[in-house]
């Protein structure tokens, strides 16, 4: 089929606008990043408690973390009506995974050696802030990528 270059340009523009709109919808929830960060701060706490055999507390933190994650996912999908893909954003996802794995590993090792004390609060706060910032940065990069087209 012969397509006029002007028609092709209009189609490219329409596709780019739709891709950008899709990214804007997926990142239209300013509450997501802080909620996500605070929820994920539960992981290093969980592992530190597990390493020191504080089972009752560990179970409570695990249940709260899982409940918060499920509520976050449900609310996000309910509000936006979409679920973003991680395709093409693997570097950001790898960074988030590094924190998600690194913080619990660190807290588990430190708790095994020194027990649980004030340092766990510091690890949890740093984890929450890092993941909230990474989530925001992921959103901004997604919109920037489509806006640049």
């Amino acid at each position: 089929m012969e397509t006029d270059p002007l028609d092709a340009q209009a189609a490219v523009d329409a596709a780019a606008a739709a891709e950008l709109r899709s990214a804007q919808i997926a990142t239209s929830t300013p509450w997501y990043a802080p909620w996500y960060g605070i929820t994920c701060a539960g992981f290093p706490v969980m592992f530190a408690l597990l390493a020191t055999d504080k089972m009752a507390l560990e179970t409570a933190v695990t249940m709260a973390t899982i409940a918060s994650l499920l509520a976050l996912m449900f609310t996000y999908e309910h509000v936006t009506g979409v679920w973003p893909s991680i395709r093409g954003n693997r570097r950001h996802v790898a960074g988030i995974l590094a924190v998600l794995i690194g913080a619990p590993t660190l807290s588990c090792l430190v708790a095994s050696a020194y027990g649980v004390s004030w340092w766990l609060l510091a690890v949890a706060v740093v984890t929450a802030i890092l993941l909230a910032l990474m989530s925001r940065s992921y959103d901004a990069a997604l919109v920037r990528k489509h806006a640049a087209r």
Binding site: V12, A14, R21, S22, V82, W83, P84, L142
Partner: protein, 101 residues
């Protein structure tokens, strides 16, 4: 780098925009697509059926809170076809405007 391949099925304006919206998503709810594309339920259903028949889109129906919810996603074939189609459009534009290809 995706090889350009013009696709008649995707080139329809509604289907092109639907594919563009779905390209960056794992899925979108049917009402979100309908509202963003500014078409009626029946028009969107027809276009999605065409994409589904071509193996480009997948419709998933689930009951949530007593209501039937339909979500739409692009298949791997659909993602490749969309990327190839956009590459073909860009090459047409580039051929007409040397230096932009």
């Amino acid at each position: 780098m995706t090889a350009p391949a013009f696709d008649e099925i995707i080139h329809n304006p509604v289907r092109l925009r639907a594919c563009a919206m779905l390209a960056g998503l794992d899925f979108a709810a049917f009402p979100v697509l309908r509202d963003e594309l500014g078409v009626s339920d029946s028009v969107l259903s027809k276009h999605l059926a065409t994409l589904e028949a071509a193996g480009y889109a997948k419709l998933t129906k689930a009951t949530s809170g007593g209501r039937l919810r339909t979500s739409v996603s692009l298949t791997a074939t659909g993602r490749k076809a969309y990327a190839a189609h956009v590459a073909a459009l860009r090459s047409i534009v580039g051929a007409a405007t040397p230096g932009l290809a």
